[in-house]
């Protein structure tokens, strides 16, 4: 890895991330407005991994994040949009990056998450007046242990991970029935060792990350056949060095995150060629204007820039901060949350 040192265009990536906020007129940026909270998490975490988080105005970010909070406790992707668990996690993660989780009403937020745990049952008989009720991560857990993303009842193991990760960061994991939550995730396990969105769903590296991380945070990794899943995951690496997300698909930088974290969490990351993967990620940089794309010479975006830099961090690329594979935040941020409690 040391041989590749110096090839990461740190300054250009920082410049690129800071410039995104200014280019608001293209179709792509308007089309992404509703998930600006995710964008904030991707951009800011990248800056932190690069050691450059101080280049942003912390107060400005936090005040915008808090404007996205719905009265129920959950967060929207942007001001004026509806709350959803996807953006609630990003909001919590952004606050954690700045060591500002104390601005949250933690109990209100976690109660709402609990509520989403009962959504499936409620969705069929849903009436609009429920909108005014509490809504957030604790509230999203259903009877079978699954989680809904919002009051509209869509169920997915992505939401199980998000709820578990969010509550873990808030020290409120005891509010949900983790045994049931784990049981549901295990019911989405496939015969190739991977996991799908819902029971019977095909294995997909993104989904595997969610399920493996959720099992990691709940101390339940023993449910995984590490050798079987590890082989499936390491076969995601193609001759180019890049990783794909499912068999017979193209490689893509974002899988550097999803496949790598999963392999690390089950202690099988040595089964891939790390240097070749780092090479692939570095080749996806826009060396002129900064940013990282899905594949070499494609258009860059903040999503792939984050996954590229985070992937390099997982590969122990020199000069980058280490990232925690399950909670998806820098290790120093996570250690502070778990070990510096006063």
């Amino acid at each position: 890895m040391d041989l590749l040192s110096g090839e990461l265009e740190v300054e250009k990536h920082v410049k690129y991330i800071l410039s995104i906020e200014k280019k608001k007129d293209s179709f792509e940026s308007v089309a992404m407005e509703h998930l600006r909270m995710n964008g904030a998490y991707w951009g800011l975490t990248t800056l932190d991994l690069l050691g450059k988080i101080e280049t942003v105005d912390q107060d400005e970010v936090i005040s915008w994040v808090m404007q996205c909070q719905h009265e129920s406790g959950g967060f929207a992707g942007n001001v004026g949009h509806d709350p959803h668990i996807l953006y609630t996690l990003s909001a919590v993660q952004v606050l954690a990056l700045f060591d500002k989780l104390d601005v949250l009403d933690v109990d209100k937020l976690s109660d709402c998450i609990l509520w989403l745990n009962f959504m499936e049952k409620n969705a069929a008989t849903f009436s609009p007046c429920l909108l005014d009720r509490k809504l957030d991560i604790c509230g999203l857990q259903n009877e079978d242990g699954s989680f809904s993303g919002d009051i509209w009842g869509e169920v997915d193991t992505r939401f199980s991970y998000i709820a578990i990760c969010c509550l873990s960061l808030l020290h409120r994991l005891d509010k949900i029935n983790t045994e049931k939550a784990v049981e549901y995730i295990v019911s989405c396990q496939n015969l190739d060792g991977g996991f799908g969105c819902t029971p019977g769903g095909e294995s997909h590296a993104g989904q595997i990350f969610c399920c493996v991380s959720a099992l990691a945070i709940t101390g339940s990794l023993y449910h995984i056949d590490k050798d079987l899943l590890g082989w499936w995951l390491c076969e995601r690496q193609l001759k180019s060095g890049g990783l794909n997300g499912r068999p017979e698909k193209l490689p893509d930088v974002c899988y550097s995150w999803w496949v790598l974290t999963s392999l690390i969490l089950i202690d099988r990351v040595h089964w891939i060629d790390k240097v070749k993967l780092a090479r692939f990620i570095l080749d996806c940089q826009d060396k002129e204007n900064g940013g990282i794309s899905d594949r070499p010479d494609d258009a860059v975006d903040v999503f792939h820039t984050y996954f590229g830099v985070a992937g390099l961090s997982l590969l122990e690329y020199p000069g980058l901060k280490a990232i925690d594979p399950a909670h998806a935040l820098p290790v120093d941020v996570i250690n502070k949350i778990f070990f510096d409690r006063k």
């Binding site: 308007v30 769903g201 945070i217 068999p247 961090s313 122990e316």
Partner: protein, 704 residues
């Protein structure tokens, strides 16, 4: 963004994009306005339609549509109006999916509207055909298909046929293979009509997957399905007991309360106990739960109350390959050597269950004798003369030269338990594996450098040896080992990207080769102490050093080991070592361990006294691959972290030392060597001495 070329900005495109963006922004703000003001008029709905058509990802748009549906349905009762409201939504979803068939929001909206029950599912297959044809790997469509077939009660057999058709039109459709595995395991599980004979079903599946693998061996779609079939074929449903400690028919001599260094007094048939208890270990071929005093009967005259069984696993799993309990001896100083028989019986009642839910149902029994001895020998130098253990070659003498019967240790086929394959099933099993081996040999004749061919052949040969070992009454000699080792060596060269995977597999086979055979094992058994020791009996050390092992296994053969040398290998993990409950001395020096969390299995070894982890990589790496595989606040497997505060100091942060605290806290080490690791410094030494009050030697020197 996916698959879009990185192009220099073209002014024309730029202008078009800005115009389109303005339109989108305008629609979006109108939608949010209507949403916040609960406006559900025709015009307002039109705006949301246009917005979702342009960008189906705007989730608030779908939420707004749902509220509008709820609102408008309240006012309508006649079926026609209801139908038109519902149809409108279905049409919008289809339009949105045509723009982006991966839109989660659109697919969910369709499910939501259909779940209301106002519309039939009749058109859903037309929609599915459209999108499954456009992309046969679209997992949203496949998930939706499972939803529709469940709602319409489509027989699973029909859906199985659908996957056959999809596979036959394109062998490379992994999604179809996946769905097939789901449906087929359901059908087999409930023994549906036509699926009662697992053998027949599997035979047909092998035929199908051969076509895929043989047509294009580089295509991965068939690989995982073939592996799944192989596992279905060779893994017996019911769990089996494969070994135990003590072993059947053995005569154990147990001495305790001695003031001697027990690490120097124990051999295979001699066990020294400080606590007055004696471990009894069961090892199964697959992780099981439910081992307890009601499923395992232990007849032993001092055994008055129910025994407590504990699964040996590093996390809080209720399932494990290995289970341990401790037999208690009466607390009296009696010099008469009396012999007590112990009998263990299991499988007479149900309750021991495998992960797949199968019960252990083969009545089995083993028995051994225990002679109690209270040793009051003069220790080497009057009781206080404990010596530091020296791992140097000079301390060991090969067992072959010494007149001691090693057969109790090396008897590996000790458990004479009726095996659980029915004769016909066994016949099918051997025949299938043999046919598969022949087929893959043929494939390799045609394509010499076929990766999957070599890997599958290696797996088949391993499976063949395993079946023969477990099912042949006389000791079976593994005939395929050398060929398997050669295949993995070839694979390392053929597919260097994954060479560490093959290396790990190679190591497991190599290790098994060394210890599963009487003759080769005895080459690795040494007496510690040699002629210089004045002790009556010496420790037997299993030395598996310098074998370039990257992974270890075969723990079922190693339950007896009390002294183990694994130094000078390439290990970074000791997963599974927690089964070796008798270990008291362990050398892991000169390996690749990179963190204390990687040593988690040692935390459950209550008798571990001597540990060497010198010259590893502890403290070198920024990413810890066992961070979540150990007990910690991060994995929510310890109650709270007040324990850590005890060891915190102004200049030592908990965040930097919690792994060491978690690891060493419960250990009773007397001797530790960890020189040659990045982490050792003065502060760390102070922490260690605090964590290990019984420590006498650290890094080769006395601590006092």
């Amino acid at each position: 963004m996916h698959g879009q070329p990185r192009k220099p900005l073209n002014p024309d495109d730029d202008a078009a994009s800005i115009a389109k963006a303005a339109k989108l922004r305008n629609l979006q703000s109108q939608l949010l306005h209507n949403h916040h003001n609960k406006i559900y008029t025709k015009e307002a709905l039109e705006i949301s339609w246009k917005l979702l058509e342009l960008n189906p990802e705007i989730y608030t748009g779908w939420n707004y549509r749902k509220l509008a549906v709820e609102h408008n349905l309240q006012a309508k009762t006649d079926p026609e109006s209801i139908k038109s409201i519902v149809d409108e939504e279905l049409k919008l979803v289809e339009t949105a999916l045509s723009r982006n068939y991966k839109s989660y929001g659109a697919w969910h909206h369709r499910k939501w509207i259909l779940n209301k029950g106002f519309s039939s599912f009749d058109h859903e297959f037309r929609l599915l055909n459209k999108f499954q044809k456009a992309d046969s790997r679209n997992f949203h469509a496949w998930n939706y298909r499972r939803f529709v077939t469940a709602m319409k009660n489509i027989p699973e057999k029909e859906e199985l046929q659908y996957t056959t058709d999809m596979i036959n039109s394109n062998f490379s459709n992994y999604s179809a293979w996946h769905n097939r595995s789901v449906i087929l395991s359901n059908l087999l599980k409930r023994k549906a009509e036509g699926f009662t004979s697992k053998e027949n079903v599997l035979a047909e599946e092998y035929d199908l997957v051969h076509q895929a693998v043989f047509v294009d061996p580089d295509d991965q779609s068939g690989w995982f399905y073939h592996l799944w079939l192989l596992e279905q074929t060779v893994t017996p449903d019911a769990p089996m007991l494969v070994s135990s400690w003590p072993i059947h028919d053995s005569d154990m001599i147990v001495s305790f309360k001695s003031n001697l260094d027990e690490t120097l007094l124990s051999t295979s048939t001699r066990y020294c106990s400080e606590s007055g208890t004696f471990p009894l270990i069961l090892y199964f071929n697959q992780p099981v739960e439910g081992v307890s005093s009601s499923t395992v009967t232990v007849n032993f005259m001092f055994c008055k109350e129910d025994l407590l069984w504990r699964p040996l696993s590093t996390t809080n799993s209720k399932k494990s390959h290995a289970w341990v309990t401790h037999l208690k001896f009466p607390d009296k100083e009696d010099n008469s050597s009396k012999v007590y028989p112990v009998e263990v019986r299991l499988g007479h009642s149900q309750g021991i269950i495998s992960s797949s839910g199968s019960h252990y149902n083969f009545p089995s029994r083993f028995a051994f004798k225990v002679t109690l001895q209270c040793v009051e020998l003069e220790a080497a130098e009057g009781g206080s003369g404990m010596k530091m253990l020296d791992w140097g070659d000079g301390s060991f003498q090969i067992c072959e030269d010494l007149p001691l019967d090693l057969s109790p240790i090396l008897s590996l086929d000790q458990l004479k338990i009726s095996r659980n394959h029915e004769p016909t099933a066994l016949h099918f099993l051997i025949e299938t594996i043999t046919t598969e081996i022949a087929l893959f040999r043929e494939l390799l004749l045609e394509i010499k450098c076929c990766k999957i061919g070599k890997l599958t052949l290696a797996r088949l040969l391993i499976a063949h040896d395993a079946i023969m070992t477990y099912n042949t009454p006389v000791e079976y000699k593994k005939v395929n080992t050398e060929e398997v080792l050669e295949l993995f060596t070839d694979l390392m060269k053929l597919d260097p990207t994954h060479s560490s995977y093959y290396k790990d597999e190679h190591s497991l086979v190599l290790m098994e080769k060394v210890i599963s055979n009487r003759k080769s094992m005895s080459k690795h058994c040494f007496f510690y102490g040699g002629s210089s020791s004045s002790n009556l009996c010496n420790s037997v050390c299993l030395r598996l050093n310098k074998l370039s092992l990257s992974k270890i296994g075969s723990f079922e053969h190693l339950l007896w080991v009390q002294m183990l040398d694994l130094s000078h290998n390439e290990l970074h993990s000791i997963e599974g070592l927690e089964a070796m409950q008798l270990l008291s001395s362990l050398n892991l020096g000169y390996n690749r361990f990179s963190s204390f969390t990687a040593l988690e299995p040692l935390r459950s070894l209550q008798t571990l006294k001597v540990l060497d982890i010198s010259y590893n990589e502890i403290g070198v790496h920024s990413i810890d691959t066992t961070r979540y595989l150990c007990s910690s606040p991060l994995s929510h497997t310890v109650e709270d972290n007040c324990d850590f505060d005890e060891y915190a100091r102004d200049d030592v942060k908990i965040a930097d030392t919690w792994e060491a605290v978690m690891f060493f806290k419960g250990l009773q080490l007397r001797q530790l060597n960890m020189t040659g690791n990045a982490i050792s410094d003065d502060n760390f030494r102070i922490l260690l001495l605090k964590l290990l009050p019984k420590l006498k030697w650290l890094d080769g020197k006395g601590v006092h």
